[in-house]
């Protein structure tokens, strides 16, 4: 549609963006990590850092989640599962790569069984470097991702449907 949006559509879009920003449910998938980053993600979700104050909840089903947290370099075995889990998630969805290996393959780069970072397989929205990243870094990454989504929502791109 090329018509300029009216006030009602603006309000609806604002509400959608607000709800999506304030209720990011995450799904955690290990694509071939050494478990260091996974432990840090779990530490982030524990009461000490308490991501529920930002509305983040860990979901077990890809159908319920909005954000896919990937840790580790993508191995050849994990690739198909990763793509399938991404396909099972419903729009709108985001991918966050956590840890050095997820960014580039890290120390596993060039291994016979490793494809590389997450971005070689899926479109990544946020990168959180570190080996492993501290919980503060994970929270910072989530906040930056939400800021990016807010900017996208303002431009009206978040709502592709």
């Amino acid at each position: 549609m090329n018509t300029t949006p009216n006030v009602w559509q603006e309000v609806m879009r604002g509400m959608k963006t607000w709800a999506r920003l304030n209720s990011p449910w995450v799904l955690h998938f290990n694509t071939g990590s050494c478990n260091g980053c996974d432990i840090e993600i779990l530490a982030t979700l524990t009461p000490r850092y308490d991501l529920e104050r930002l509305g983040v909840r860990l979901q077990a089903s890809p159908r319920h989640a909005d954000i896919l947290l990937c840790t580790g370099a993508v191995t050849r075995q994990a690739r198909d599962r990763l793509v399938r889990i991404y396909a099972q998630m419903h729009e709108p969805k985001c991918v966050v790569a956590i840890g050095s290996c997820a960014l580039s393959g890290g120390v596993f780069q060039g291994c016979y069984n490793v494809l590389g970072g997450i971005e070689d397989v899926l479109p990544v929205d946020a990168y959180i470097p570190g080996c492993p990243p501290r919980p503060e870094a994970v929270i910072d990454g989530v906040v930056k991702l939400l800021d990016g989504l807010r900017a996208r929502g303002r431009q009206g791109k978040a709502d592709s449907q």
Partner: protein
């Protein structure tokens, strides 16, 4: 009752919109108090609203191999059941909007619609986790439902009526928590089983079976199930508070009572670990049902003498 007043009662107050709002508020209180007991900050006050809105605007996909009509219809039935149960209970401590002899049974069946809807929704999909979750949900229905019903029937026996409003009138003169403590305990814990709160959350155990019966649901369907659960929390708390804690009263005092009940439930949630499904069934039929039967025996003996 004229049609306009009936519509207002159904859609605005005490049913419909205000009930949904109350459901979101109670869900927030539940999560916030639980967070307090976990020693963390907890969700912000608008969190349940943001969750519900986000799910409502999320893409909904009907997976392969399901009956489409059931997949789309069951969340509606579940939410409608929870919402219509509210017509017969004294929400906010005011007299029920509608009342007829025997509506206590109708309320309990309407409240079960949510659980039955979740069970059917789980069996409707091909996913194995949904199926296991649905089996557990339905098994749990058969374990807590009868003791819960029997506990509330204890109140009906002393009030001499199966109508919620007459039980409330009786409960206004006698605090049934003092005369029927066993029934109160079973009813409160039965409510926790109905809402699948932590000791009884085997049906949706995230660490075992993904998300139980609702694994394949997203978007609108999931939002309706969540809203239905929030509404059921309010309706169930209202029912238990009205029957056991002194019937009808002023809205503020009544809110204090329901929040006190919620606090007890939150404490139990934080305190107890998840029961296996066979332990749940064992708990209800070995102890829950037995406690209620003892309660009935005492009531019948006292009434005879």
């Amino acid at each position: 009752m004229n049609p306009l007043a009936a519509l207002f009662a159904l859609l605005i107050f005490p049913g419909g919109l205000s009930l949904l709002a109350a459901g979101l508020v109670y869900e927030w209180v539940d999560r916030k108090l639980l967070a307090g007991l976990h020693n963390r900050v907890g969700p912000r006050w608008f969190q349940p609203l943001a969750d519900a809105l986000k799910l409502l605007v999320k893409e909904e996909v009907v997976p392969e191999g399901v009956n489409q009509a059931l997949f789309i219809g069951l969340p509606l039935v579940a939410l409608a059941g929870a919402l219509s149960a509210a017509v017969y209970v004294p929400l906010a401590g005011l007299a029920p909007v509608h009342s007829f002899p025997g509506d206590l049974i109708v309320v309990l069946y309407l409240l079960s619609l949510l659980t039955l809807g979740m069970g059917l929704a789980g069996t409707n999909t091909l996913d194995r986790f949904s199926l296991i979750g649905a089996t557990r949900t339905l098994t749990q229905v058969f374990s807590y439902e009868a003791p819960f019903l029997m506990a509330l029937l204890g109140a009906a026996v002393v009030a001499g009526s199966l109508s919620v409003s007459e039980i409330c009138a009786y409960a206004g003169e006698h605090w049934l928590i003092l005369t029927q403590p066993l029934g109160f305990v079973v009813a409160l814990i039965g409510l926790m089983g109905k809402l699948e709160m932590p000791p009884f959350d085997a049906p949706e155990a995230h660490t075992e079976i993904v998300a139980g019966a609702l694994t394949e649901y997203s978007g609108r369907g999931l939002a309706f199930f969540h809203l239905g659960r929030s509404v059921e929390l309010v309706v169930g708390l209202t029912l238990v508070a009205a029957v056991y804690l002194g019937g009808l009263s002023s809205p503020v005092w009544f809110a204090v009572k329901t929040l006190a009940l919620l606090l007890v439930m939150v404490g139990l949630q934080a305190l107890l670990a998840r029961l296996r499904i066979d332990q749940t069934v064992g708990l209800w039929w070995r102890y829950g049902a037995l406690l209620v039967l003892v309660q009935w025996l005492v009531l019948i003996l006292i009434q005879r003498s």
